[in-house]
């Protein structure tokens, strides 16, 4: 990884970036596209994106693959983070994969949800990477 900054990115941040590429979430995605930060997410986030796009926004399979392929995210498979699920502290079961990946990789979380203990301050991160 050559000391490159790493973070786990949550679904809401990815949607926010797509909705407003000029906003803070969009800036984070730009930094990832410029190679300034490596973003990771569990495969459950990818599945969530796919189901939301297809069910709620009527994306075809091709369109959702197109969308997902344009996200600068390294997808982490369940086998990699499964052992860390039981070490997570977050209350909601649905948030555990995100925290488990952050524990597995030893990095913070970028999320709009404030219940993650290892949540990264987005403003500070933007300042740091600008």
């Amino acid at each position: 990884m050559n000391g490159l900054k790493r973070a786990v990115v949550d679904t809401n941040v990815l949607f926010m970036a797509a909705y407003n590429p000029e906003g803070k979430a969009g800036k984070i995605i730009n930094f990832a596209n410029e190679g300034k930060i490596s973003l990771f997410a569990p495969d459950s986030v990818k599945e969530e994106l796919l189901r939301v796009l297809q069910r709620e926004l009527n994306f075809s399979e091709d369109e959702s693959s197109f969308f997902i392929s344009r996200l600068p995210v390294n997808w982490v498979e369940k086998q990699v983070y499964l052992d860390f699920i039981e070490k997570t502290k977050v209350k909601h079961k649905a948030d555990k994969p995100v925290e488990a990946v952050s524990l597995a990789l030893g990095c913070g979380i970028l999320s709009a949800d404030n219940h993650f203990a290892k949540r990264i301050d987005v403003n500070k991160l933007i300042e740091e990477l600008s």
Partner: protein, 84 residues
């Protein structure tokens, strides 16, 4: 370092662009072009997302709320009760 072969006219264009953009070397220029390409790819996805959201008649807030429900559904399917 690796070497790639490119046609002479493209080489000339890259050197001119490098001078125009003030890059120290061609590798830096190519890196910059690659980053811009990646940003453009993401913007294309963003355009599609906003178009589809508008067509759906849902607000962005409603979409995030639906996403939350779907996340719970995936957790129920993927995570065994005993593992949490």
């Amino acid at each position: 370092m690796k070497t790639i072969s490119i046609p002479e006219d493209l080489h000339r264009e890259l050197v001119n662009l490098k001078l125009e953009l003030g890059d120290k070397n061609t590798a830096g220029l190519i890196k910059k072009l690659y980053f811009e390409y990646r940003k453009k790819r993401f913007l294309e996805a963003s355009v599609l997302f906003k178009k589809k959201l508008k067509e759906s008649g849902k607000s962005f807030g409603q979409l995030l709320a639906k996403s939350r429900i779907i996340r719970e559904e995936i957790a129920d399917e993927w995570l065994e009760k005993g593992s949490c």
